[in-house]
Every structure is written in structure tokens, then in C-alpha cells.
């Protein structure tokens, strides 16, 4: 992990930085820009977080604004709510996806609902950062894709970056948002790197077309983005890749326009298939694009199993071959004509 100052220079010089570095820079810039921003959670101050995302922040901004808390996730989110009621903007870290579950009641019963409960009088500009998903050989409880729990809760924004550049700008936007944001960080992409612009103007709630294509739309996000892009490159057909970025609210406009053009769609995510986020995407696409579709909307997802142990996780995670196989199943005309000829 580089220091904040080194990253600053790297960003300014247009050098590549990692997603971890971009997130660190975003926190640092937010703390500099707005005195009401606080960063707290387990091990975030002295250690700099188990993934070092908050490295150097306590030294730079002091232990009043960047601090370690007792080890209790409901306590972290519950006290963040009280602080936000008193005008502060907490950015809290849950150490791992499954370790956020003790905070579930505070998130769903209060964080998501207090604005509505008070007819807009109580505003909770809180960001909950959660490293999520697998692919790093983590043991049980360290690899969950928990997005659907949050996207099913009205009142929350759920955002997940797939690239370092987006990680920076989306986290800045999330901290500025007047709504609570569940910020899901795909931990297996923490060490991917690219040039990051601090000036990019990306809205918090829009998807982006990562790769243009005309035959099929691959809809994905977070940790599955890189795999999906790889599959798109490997396929002979022209695949468009959409990175959703905002899982809630959902950017219908970008997705629907693409699928109406291509006529075929596949959703790719790591999370289990049953009642997974892809089910909502497939339903929305089917409802809004039915007469444009040449084939059913398919899902390439994790199996409906508890997350596997590290030695078996490669069998669970969607890979390039599974995405290519799904593309092949989309009732292409040559297949249709073969069927007709056979009949």
C-alpha cells in the first residue's frame, strides 16, 4: 500500500493506481473537503483497515475524525445514525460482507426508513463500505455476495464499482449523497489498477456501457465485470457489456435501450441465482423488451449453495466459459434454421 501522499502524486501525474488506492484517495479527499465527514469502523485507524483502504487517514486527519470502534457492527451503524442526525457524515467500514449481518436491523429498520418515517426531516447521509464477493481464497463468511439483501430494501442506494476509476468517483459521490449508500467493494478487484481521474463527473445512479456491441447485451457489475469483459472479447459475436454500477436505483434507460437494440441479454453475477439480483434484471428486461427479445434472458450466476471453501470456489464463480456457453444458448438464427431444417 502506498501512502496517501504518494497516491495523490500518482493521481495527479496520471499514473495507474489500484482500486484500493483509489478508494483511499476518495476518502482522503472527502475528509479534506468536508469537516463533517468521519471514517470509523473496526481496525480502520491504527491499522488502516484489513485491506488497508483507510491506511494513513488517522495520521492525516486525527483520531477524532478517523477512529477505531469496539467490535460490534450494529453499534457502528446505529451510532452512525445518531451522528448523522446531528449533522455529521459518517463513512463506516464493515470488515467483510458476512460480518455486516449483525447491523442488518439498524440498516433495514432505521437507516433505510428514517427519512420516510419523518417525512423527510431526518436525513442520513451515511456510507457503509462493505468489501464483498469471492475470488480471493477467503474462508467461510468472507466471500458473500450480499447485494440482494440491500437492494430489496427501499430507501437504500446500493452502489458497486467495477474499476479503480469508478471506485474513486462513485465513493466521492456516495459520500456527497443525501441518501444512505451501501457501497459494495469487489474485494478481488482491490489490486487491479488503471489511471484514475479525480475530476471525472459520474452520476451515482447511472449504468455505463463498458464495451459496445450489437448482438447481445451482457449486464453485470462489481467483481464479475472483468470476467464478463474477457468473455465479450473472446466471443465471435458482437457483445455489448453494461456495468450497472448502481444496483439500486436501477438504470432502466441504459439497459433497456441496449437490449432493444441487441435483442438478447444475459445477466452475470457471482451471487447465487435463486432470488438473486439477476432475477430482477431479467424480469425488468422481459417486461420492458418482450417484443424485442430473440431469446429468453439468461443468468450466469453462482450456484444456489453456501459459498464454497477456497479449494472449490473456482467451480462456483462464473467464468468466461460459462458466459460463452450462455451466449451460445441464445437461439441464434443459424440454430433456429438448423432446427427448422431438422423438422
Amino acid at each position: 500500500m502506498t501512502t496517501t501522499a504518494e497516491q495523490d502524486r500518482a493521481l495527479a501525474a496520471g499514473q495507474a493506481v489500484t482500486m484500493a488506492g483509489a478508494l483511499n484517495q476518495a476518502l482522503s479527499d472527502a475528509l479534506s473537503e468536508d469537516d463533517t465527514v468521519l471514517v470509523f469502523g473496526e481496525d480502520v485507524a491504527t491499522l488502516g483497515g484489513v485491506f488497508r483502504i483507510t491506511s494513513g487517514l488517522a495520521e492525516a486527519f486525527g483520531q477524532t475524525r478517523v477512529f477505531d470502534t469496539p467490535l460490534a457492527e450494529s453499534g457502528i451503524v446505529g451510532t452512525a445514525i445518531g451522528m448523522a442526525m446531528n449533522g455529521l457524515r459518517p463513512v463506516v467500514e464493515m470488515q467483510f460482507d458476512a460480518f455486516a449481518y449483525p447491523a442488518f436491523e439498524q440498516i433495514t429498520s432505521h437507516l433505510a426508513k428514517l427519512r420516510n418515517r419523518t417525512r423527510g426531516r431526518v436525513e442520513l447521509p451515511i456510507v457503509i463500505r462493505i468489501p464483498y464477493g469471492g475470488g480471493i481464497g477467503g474462508v467461510e463468511h468472507h466471500c458473500d455476495s450480499s447485494e440482494a439483501y440491500y437492494t430489496h430494501t427501499p430507501g437504500l442506494r446500493v452502489v458497486t464499482p467495477g474499476t479503480p476509476a469508478d471506485a474513486y468517483v462513485l465513493l466521492r459521490q456516495a459520500i456527497k449523497s443525501p441518501d444512505p449508500v451501501i457501497f459494495l467493494e469487489p474485494k478481488r478487484r482491490y489490486w487491479s489498477s488503471e489511471v484514475v481521474s479525480a475530476q471525472a463527473d459520474v452520476p451515482l445512479d447511472r449504468a455505463v456501457v463498458r464495451r459496445s456491441g450489437s448482438d447481445v447485451t451482457l449486464i453485470t457489475y462489481g467483481g464479475a465485470l472483468a470476467t464478463t469483459l474477457e468473455a465479450a472479447e473472446a466471443d465471435d459475436r458482437s457483445a455489448e457489456v453494461i456495468d450497472l454500477r448502481s444496483l439500486a436505483p436501477f438504470d432502466d434507460e441504459t439497459v433497456i435501450a441496449s437490449v432493444k437494440r441487441t435483442g438478447r441479454a444475459i445477466v452475470v453475477h457471482e451471487a447465487s441465482r435463486f432470488c438473486g439480483y439477476g432475477a430482477e434484471v431479467a424480469a425488468r428486461v422481459s417486461e420492458q423488451c418482450f417484443h424485442y427479445l430473440e431469446a429468453p434472458v439468461l443468468r450466469v450466476a453462482g450456484f444456489d449453495i453456501p459459498y464454497p471453501p477456497p479449494s472449490l470456489e473456482e467451480y462456483h464463480l462464473p467464468n468466461v466459459d460459462r458466459i460463452l456457453a450462455a451466449i451460445d444458448r441464445l437461439q441464434w438464427r443459424e440454430t433456429a434454421s438448423v432446427v427448422q431444417a431438422a423438422g
Partner: protein, 370 residues
Amino acid sequence: MATSPMTPECLLPGPTPVALLDAAGQAIPGDSLDMPGDQVLLALYRMMVLGRRFDTQAIALTKQGRLAVYPSARGQEACQVGAVAALRPQDWLFPTYRDSIALVARGVDPVQVLTLLRGEWHSGYDPYDLRVAPQCTPLATNTLHAVGMARAAAIKGEDMVALVMLGDGATSEGDTHEALNFAAVWKAPVVFLVQNNGYAISVPLAKQTAAPSLAHKGIGYGVPGTLVDGNDAAAVYAVVRRAVTAAAAGAGPALIEALTYRVEAHTNADDATRYRSREEVDSWLARDPVTRLGEHLGRRGLLAAAAVAALEAQAEAEAAALRQRMNSGTRPDPADLFRYVYAKRTPELRRQQHELAAELADLEEAGNPS
């Protein structure tokens, strides 16, 4: 005292609850706490009389079908009024659904107190007007909000204390543990007031905890615990006032357990005869908090018969006004369902709002054929 150097012993509650008045309203000598001044005692009495009349009116409104549900605070007037009177205007109150009398004592409009229980909206008042958080329904979750509010005040250098109310059942919830721990580690200016009314719906305290008292739990967190007679408004006021003053001076949090009794059932939907005896209820009615303070004031010549009559007339007038206003309620606008989910409505919520509006327009057309 909370400000003395911390030894394990000074975190423990005394062997008996702190009390300033006995059940007959006689002053109890010898306690370290001073009896509140006459004006404070009169104010406590006044707020308890008005609060009790509000409570009986709310019960009546429930029987008439005007409220969806009402959890009565009858019997707990001394806890709720004593605590609220001990707060300063800049302090925050974090109440539960059973703290209606506390809200009325704080000055929240009675109709707005009942908005939630009437089923009109989830909360009826602006929390920032009188620094009262929305009535909290999930147990113990508000303890953490109070700690966060208080911690933020300390960070910002504000002179403010947060008082959170919870019940005996809520002390079993994990959030109470986390809140006491966070508050102590942060030395946050928070007062935890546990109204131990004997029952969590039907479950008695003996099935809730094996601790010697709920106030004893404080020592495990490094928080001083105090046990107080919760039917003695003077004692509750004095104990909470001491805790608020100490917290404001930087001494950190305090845990207060007020021993009281829920005279009514859990709510109108509950049948308390299934789990407690008439004799038990009667024994607590004999320790009534309003009568107790009234006796004391009368004995000291502070409460003339004319003043009592005037106060009762005021309580009746307020109850009549509440009845009147509850008759003329308006239905909330269905469009409000979509307005406050996010700071700005999302495209999807705008679409759904139009969907509902079209449905309602169709219904109206069908109901009013032109």
C-alpha cells in the same frame, strides 16, 4: 458520584432504590440527593396529572377505534415526567412507543404524539423542533442512536446530553449491550433510563435476567448504575438530573433503572389477566406516583384545593380538545408514500406514483359516474 475516581464499587447501585418520598408521600431523610425545589415538584405534579389524563383519553380513543393501537404508560408517569423535566432544552430525548407521557411532558403536540398509533404516518412530529427522536418501535435500537447523537455533540463541542428510554425487556437485546459499551468507551454524554415495569408483554423480569438488578449491568461496561424508585417523581427527577449534569460535565454515560409498574395491559390488544394477578396490580396501585406526590405537596401546603381543581379542569379541557382534534383527522395524501423514500424520487418511484394515481382516478370515476 459519577465524577469521583472510578472504582468498581462506585459503579454499583445502592442496596435499595433511591427514594425521596415514601408511598404515603412523606419525605425520606438521609439520602445524598436533595429534594427538588417546590417549583420543580409542582411542575412534576402538574405534568403527571396532565399526562395521566392524556393517557386515559388515548385509551378511550382506542376503544372507539380512533387509534390502531395504544401502549399505555399509566403507572409510569413519575419515570417519564421526572426524566423529561430533568432535561434541558438543548438535550435530546430518544423515546420508545410507550413513552407518550414523556413526549407530552416535553411539549410535543398530543395529536402528533398519536400520529403513529393512529396509523396516519410513522411519526407525527419534527424531531428537530423539540429534540425528540421519533418513537422507536424496534426494541433497544434507539440506544445506539442516542450514543451516536451524544458522540457527535462531543465531537462538535456542543453542550448536549442524550437521554434514551428503554424497557426491562429491551435490556436483553444486543443493541443495549453495544450501546452501553460504545457509550462507555467514548465517554459519551448519554443517560440510559430503563423503565423496569415488571413485564415485557407477558414475560416477567425473572425470565429476562439473572442479574441482581438491571442497574447492576452497568459495572460490566464501566458505567455507573443507579436504582431508583420509579414511582417517586422527585427521586427520578433528582437522579436523572444528577446524571445529565455529570454527563454534560464530561463524566460520561449513566445507567438508571427506575422500578415501576405497567398498570394497563401491554396494549389494548393484550390480556394481562393471563399472566398476572389482580392482587399484584392492586399492590402497585397503592403506590401510585401521582397520588404520592400530590399527598406530599398537600401535606406541605403547596397544593391548595383550588389549584387541584384548576389543574383537573385544565386536564379535562385538554382531553376534550384532543378528542375534538382526533375527530377531524384528514387522510394522508397517498402520493406521500413515494415522496420521502429518497431525497429525490427515482424514475421508478415516479412511475409507481403515477400508477397509483391512475388507479385512484379510475376508482373515483367509477364511484362518481358523470
